[in-house]
């Protein structure tokens, strides 16, 4: 039993005694033994007043004190209101009084008359009891507070596992109050999942652990709210008061930790799923995470990579140098760029790297490095550049070839126009000379033959001219500009009228027709179309040739129509081919190159040309010019 030091100091006592002499005696006696007497009260009222003022450690009270309330009632008030223990002094020991006095929980009875030593011993014992009780209460309060404030669930049980106490956390976990849980087996209060029950009982020492039981003492329980939570459990056995063992079981709710672990594991799994290599290393230190992507790319297994310096392992190479990269990481928290790494097999690869510095709560710096293999892309880039260069070279070569071919064609055309026409002119010229100078020696037939020679010669000349024009149309540079088609058509019409002054030809040309194209080429095309129209209306007394524009589906369509011989549409597919003719030479002479020239010009403009006709019903040639 603890004896507080304060008892050695002066304990303070209030005397409640209405007999003055007795009170004084007691006072003297107490003071002789070193107590301090805070006062002497002669009545109940005095006693309550004194006690409230001085707060004594103990009240010595005569049971039969004067006044109302009486001594026993007063003691009750003092004990309950002020917490002051009361020791009764009485000469009466009638059972009724004693029974009443007991209910006030007095600390002791002392019967008068008493010896001094009896009084002092009684007071000493009473005071020690008071101190001990106070101490105990305080410890109890401390224990309850401590138990209530810790997060772990704490149970104490008897040797059979029946609950004697459970703290607040345990009540929250199980949903049971102390009253409900008292005496109930802990394995019923805590509702452990059936498959975990054996392990749980073993952890509490209620059962011997089975061999090969789980390494982790973690158990699922159904919590108060009905959800399943994970706990750990451990128990300590200790000796109880009556020599019976009691157990203290401590259980910790680790659900949150388990969840966090699961999240972490899941994230780690997800990182593993990534095809991209991801790994982490302590800044300036070693690799501490290495995913499947990294294993795949670099060929180093997790075991081979963990604990290695990343730059050493991968032989990192960068023009900046690793210390500079580290510097950027430290200053800016991240670095990105292209690195050269070497795989386990010794291949050099180029990766696009992103390093992010993560500062852990404990101050450590971890670098998360995510790399993407761009070797293939780099290779393809190089290849494309090479291909492009090659393509350019080929285009240049091809262009040169084309230019050469064009030159050749030009010089061919040049030769054709010179060299083929000169002999023709000679044939024609000397035939004419024969006719002019020797007509008297020639009969009619001979002169006709010579005429035939001349007309064939001239036809050959036209053929050469038309062919040259066709080739010119193909080769000529095209220059688009606004062309007044009406004006061009009127000029052509005027020329044709003049050339065929003997004929009656009526031209109907729609005013205001404009087009975007090459003026020279369009004039050639229109000239061909108009000349055709003039030619094929040769047998009409009144030839009518129209040129008009109309819109078809928003696109301008031009049309040259005539009231001439027309043609059978069955042969229309041959119409635009070179040397294709639909009429007999004797009916309508021609080279068959005119429409081929028209088509070539229209096509060069991105337009279309087509015709509609019926034999003897005239023809219409439509064309668009594109944009």
């Amino acid at each position: 039993m603890i004896v507080p030091d304060s008892t050695k100091q002066r304990s303070r006592v209030l005397i409640v005694e209405d007999e003055g002499i007795v009170a004084t005696d007691i006072r003297t006696c107490l003071e002789d033994y070193g107590y301090e007497v805070t006062g002497i009260a002669a009545s109940s009222d005095d006693a309550i007043l004194e006690a409230s003022k001085t707060c004594p450690d103990l009240v010595l009270m005569d049971v039969r004190i004067q006044g109302d309330p009486d001594g026993i009632e007063t003691a009750d008030i003092l004990h309950r209101r002020f917490g002051v223990p009361v020791m009764f002094l009485t000469a009466h020991s009638d059972p009724e009084t004693i029974e009443r006095a007991k209910k006030t929980e007095p600390i002791a009875f002392l019967l008068k008359p008493f010896k001094k030593i009896e009084l002092v011993n009684g007071i000493e014992i009473a005071l020690r009891r008071v101190h001990a009780e106070r101490e105990l209460r305080e410890q109890e309060r401390w224990l309850v507070t401590a138990m209530g404030s810790i997060g772990d669930a704490v149970f104490s049980t008897d040797e059979h596992g029946r609950v004697r106490f459970l703290n607040r956390a345990a009540q929250i976990l199980t949903g049971a109050t102390l009253e409900q849980a008292l005496g109930v087996p802990v394995t019923e209060v805590v509702q452990v999942a059936p498959e975990d029950l054996r392990g749980f009982r073993a952890a509490l020492g209620l059962e011997t652990a089975e061999n090969g039981s789980r390494a982790k003492p973690e158990y699922r329980v159904v919590a108060a709210a009905g959800d399943t939570r994970w706990i750990t459990a451990r128990a300590t056995k200790m000796e109880g008061l009556e020599g019976r063992p009691i157990r203290i079981a401590v259980m910790q709710d680790i659900t949150a930790r388990k969840q966090a672990e699961r999240v972490l594991r899941r994230q780690s799994d997800l990182l593993d799923q990534s095809r991209e290599p991801v790994f982490t290393w302590e800044f300036g230190g070693c690799i501490d995470y290495w995913n499947h992507g990294a294993e795949r790319l670099y060929g180093f297994s997790r075991e081979e990579a963990l604990g290695r310096d990343p730059h050493e392992l991968l032989r990192t190479s960068h023009p900046m140098g690793i210390p500079e990269i580290d510097g950027v990481l430290e200053r800016e928290g991240q670095w990105s760029g292209e690195l050269v790494h070497t795989t386990k097999d010794g291949w050099e690869i180029i990766v696009e790297s992103l390093m992010v510095m993560v500062k852990e709560p404990d101050g450590r710096k971890t670098v998360l490095e995510t790399n993407r293999d761009i070797s293939e892309r780099k290779r393809v880039d190089r290849e494309i550049r090479w291909l492009n260069a090659d393509l350019e070279k080929r285009v240049r070569d091809r262009t040169a070839q084309l230019e050469a071919a064009n030159k050749e064609l030009e010089s061919f055309a040049h030769s054709v126009s010179h060299d083929l026409r000169a002999p023709l002119r000679g044939i024609d010229g000397w035939s004419l000379a024969l006719i002019e100078d020797y007509s008297h020696q020639l009969d009619q037939q001979a002169r006709q033959y010579l005429d035939r020679v001349r007309s064939e010669t001239q036809r050959m000349g036209s053929l050469i001219d038309d062919l040259l024009q066709l080739s010119r149309v193909t080769r000529a540079e095209m220059e688009r500009q606004a062309v007044d088609l009406t004006a061009v058509a009127r000029n052509i019409a005027a020329r044709l009228r003049e050339a065929h002054a003997d004929r009656h030809i009526e031209f109907e040309i729609q005013p205001g027709m404009m087009a975007s194209g090459d003026p020279r080429l369009l004039e050639i095309a229109l000239t061909n179309l108009f000349s055709n129209a003039v030619k094929f209306t040769g047998r009409r007394v009144a030839a009518r040739i129209g040129f008009e524009e109309r819109l078809s589906e928003g696109e301008p369509v031009f049309c040259v129509r005539d009231n001439g011989a027309g043609f059978d549409m069955a042969y229309a597919s041959n119409l635009f081919g070179a040397f294709q003719r639909l009429h007999k030479m004797s009916e309508f002479p021609g080279t068959g190159i005119g429409l081929a020239t028209v088509q070539r010009i229209i096509r060069r403009h991105g337009g279309r040309v087509w015709a509609e006709a019926q034999p003897d019903q005239g023809a219409a040639f439509y064309f668009t010019i594109g944009t």
Partner: protein, 148 residues
Amino acid sequence: MIDSKKAILLIEDNPSDIELTRRALAKARIANHLAVVEDGQEALDYLFATGSYLGRDASEMPALVLLDLKLPRISGLDLLQQIRADARTRRLSVVVLTSSKEDLDVTKAYDLGANSYIVKPVDFAQFQKTVEQVGLYWLLTNQVPPNR
């Protein structure tokens, strides 16, 4: 009046064309002497009285030069360039007579200072008409620069 004392210089290597030109000029009653040279070098010799024409009076310049473009040795265009480059021949009336309708030739000929560019038609009757017109125009109508 046609100054018929002055010559017409025909630079042409095709004998048929030479004769036909001669015939066309005769038919057009252009009586000027027709001097014929068959290539560019010979033409230069004639104009500057050198080579086989050494001794010709170099001050006597032809009234008209009819120049075919397609010539051996020195081409018609080169010849034209040299005629225009020399002070003595710079102002000669040069009519290009050619079978070529090629754009390049026409443009080049005018750029080099041809006075006219005439495509010889295959039809001789037309050719004759053309020669007649050219002769009349350049010998009669055209006002020539003084001191020629």
